[in-house]
């Protein structure tokens, strides 16, 4: 019993078919509980008023935006090293979800920034690096859709993902150096004394769990679709041959 067993599409389909409903229902439950709790049953912040509640969408989306890219990096590495097709397809399936998460983080941030900072957009390091991350997602998705041959596309996009990761990290430090920040520092770290108050913290955790499960559900669903699309392609190819 090893993780690599699930490189077999059939086993992957069987397992993901069992996980998918759990993740989907869990995501729905966590999101409803987290968002309703966060929006209606937490006090307003003494300075930010009710705008603070954007945190229940903004923070989980931003968290997912980065972690989905990281997941794509890992699956791309697995494809490059061990050439498991499911891995490449999972990276492909995750990319649009990650792009949407980045977009959600940017837009909710703008909605929050308008009343709080007095501007929709500032060239702050975090905002800028998210914009760059969004561009990387766009390039990655565009490259996938531009290439006809699936294996070539998987190879090229995975190398783009590896190179892009290096440059995304580099850009992150470059913009840090380039402009001073308006965005507040981390307030959810496990190793720091001063964090966001518990009143906001627990609904936020539920909401984050909801976003993670939502991503898992969407990613599994999309990967399963990709696998089946491949099968259909193979069947059609066999038909035309015979």
């Amino acid at each position: 019993m090893s993780l690599w067993e699930y490189a077999n599409p059939k086993k992957f389909l069987a397992l993901s078919g069992r996980i998918l409903p759990i993740a989907a229902w869990g995501a729905g439950l966590c999101l409803v509980v987290g968002l309703v709790w966060g929006f209606f049953f937490t006090p307003d912040d003494y300075k930010q008023g009710s705008t603070v509640k954007i945190i229940y969408i903004h923070v989980p989306a931003a968290l997912m935006a980065i972690n989905i890219w990281f997941m794509m990096l890992v699956t791309s590495l697995i494809w490059v090293i061990r050439r498991h097709h499911v891995s490449a397809l999972a990276a492909r399936a995750a990319a649009p979800v990650g792009a949407m998460m980045t977009l959600i983080a940017l837009i909710t941030g703008a909605f929050w920034g308008q009343p709080m900072w007095g501007t929709w957009w500032a060239w702050d390091p975090r905002l800028t690096s998210f914009l760059i991350l969004f561009l990387f997602y766009l390039g990655y998705i565009a490259l996938w859709s531009a290439i006809e041959n699936d294996d070539t596309a998987a190879d090229l996009t995975s190398i783009l993902c590896l190179v892009g990761s290096v440059f995304a990290a580099l850009s992150r430090w470059a913009v840090n150096f380039w402009n001073q920040g308006l965005h507040q520092g981390a307030s959810l770290s496990l190793d720091k004394e001063e964090n966001v108050s518990d009143v906001f913290y627990f609904p936020l955790l539920v909401s984050i769990a909801g976003f993670v499960l939502l991503f898992v559900a969407l990613m599994l669903l999309r990967t399963r679709t990709e696998i089946r699309a491949r099968r259909i392609k193979a069947l059609i190819a066999r038909e035309t041959l015979s």
Binding site: I132, L135, F136, L138, G139, A142, L143, A146, I147, T152, D155, L156, I159, L160, L162, V163, G164, F167, A168, L170, S171, A174, V175, F177, W178
Partner: protein, 218 residues
């Protein structure tokens, strides 16, 4: 390797387009900026460094699809790939040829165009220096992009979407170096970072370019 370099240089010089085109584009961008933002010297001189950097970057970008696409179309890329020269060396030479034919003229032309944009006196030195240090990274990263999209028909737009985000660090440090130099601030950090990015790209990117080229030639 030298023969290949000479061949590429000759092709760029003699087979029309390519060589002068980037330079002409750079000139036009620099000439259009005052029409867009107005001819006030105060405005122009503050943005001159950034505009020159952006113009050079776009001029580089425009010429990228010529690096490999022409050789791909007429099949000479296959011949070069089957030659005893490793692909890593091939893409390095291609990047060098691109730098010599496209980026180096831009570096030399930048101070001249700086006159049009009211670049401050101190800026002439810094724009030339920062472009000279930064453009090798643009060529090498661009070669990676060209290798990535070589098999795609009409991949030009895709190429720019892929390559522009990769240009961000180079642009930030290059333009920052120019800005700080003009204002008389300490320039050592952006100078070292630009140089570091360029050298790291020259050292590492050929492996990535060769890897994607191998996939595309399969």
């Amino acid at each position: 390797m030298i023969a290949l370099l000479i061949r590429d240089l000759r092709l760029a010089l003699r087979a029309g387009g390519g060589f002068g085109l980037g330079l002409a584009f750079f000139l036009i961008v620099a000439a259009l900026v005052p029409f867009a933002v107005g001819p006030q010297a105060a405005v122009l001189s503050t943005i001159a460094g950034g505009v020159l950097w952006l113009g050079a970057l776009l001029a580089c970008l425009l010429s990228l699809d010529r690096i490999l696409a022409l050789d791909w179309e007429d099949g000479s890329l296959d011949l070069m790939a089957s030659a005893p020269l490793p692909l890593e060396a091939l893409v390095s030479i291609k990047a060098l040829a691109h730098w010599l034919t496209t980026a180096l003229p831009l570096v030399l032309a930048a101070p001249v165009l700086g006159v049009l944009l009211q670049l401050p006196q101190a800026g002439f030195y810094w724009i030339t220096l920062s472009l000279a240090i930064g453009t090798p990274a643009l060529s090498v990263i661009g070669t990676f992009g060209a290798a990535l999209t070589v098999g795609i028909k009409r991949g030009g737009l895709l190429l720019s979407i892929l390559v522009l985000p990769l240009y961000v660090p180079t642009l930030i440090f290059g333009a920052e170096l120019t800005r700080r130099g003009i204002q008389g601030m300490d320039t050592s950090t952006p100078l070292l970072m630009s140089a570091g990015i360029s050298f790291a790209c020259i050292a590492v990117m050929p492996f990535a370019s060769a890897a994607v080229l191998r996939v595309n030639l399969r």
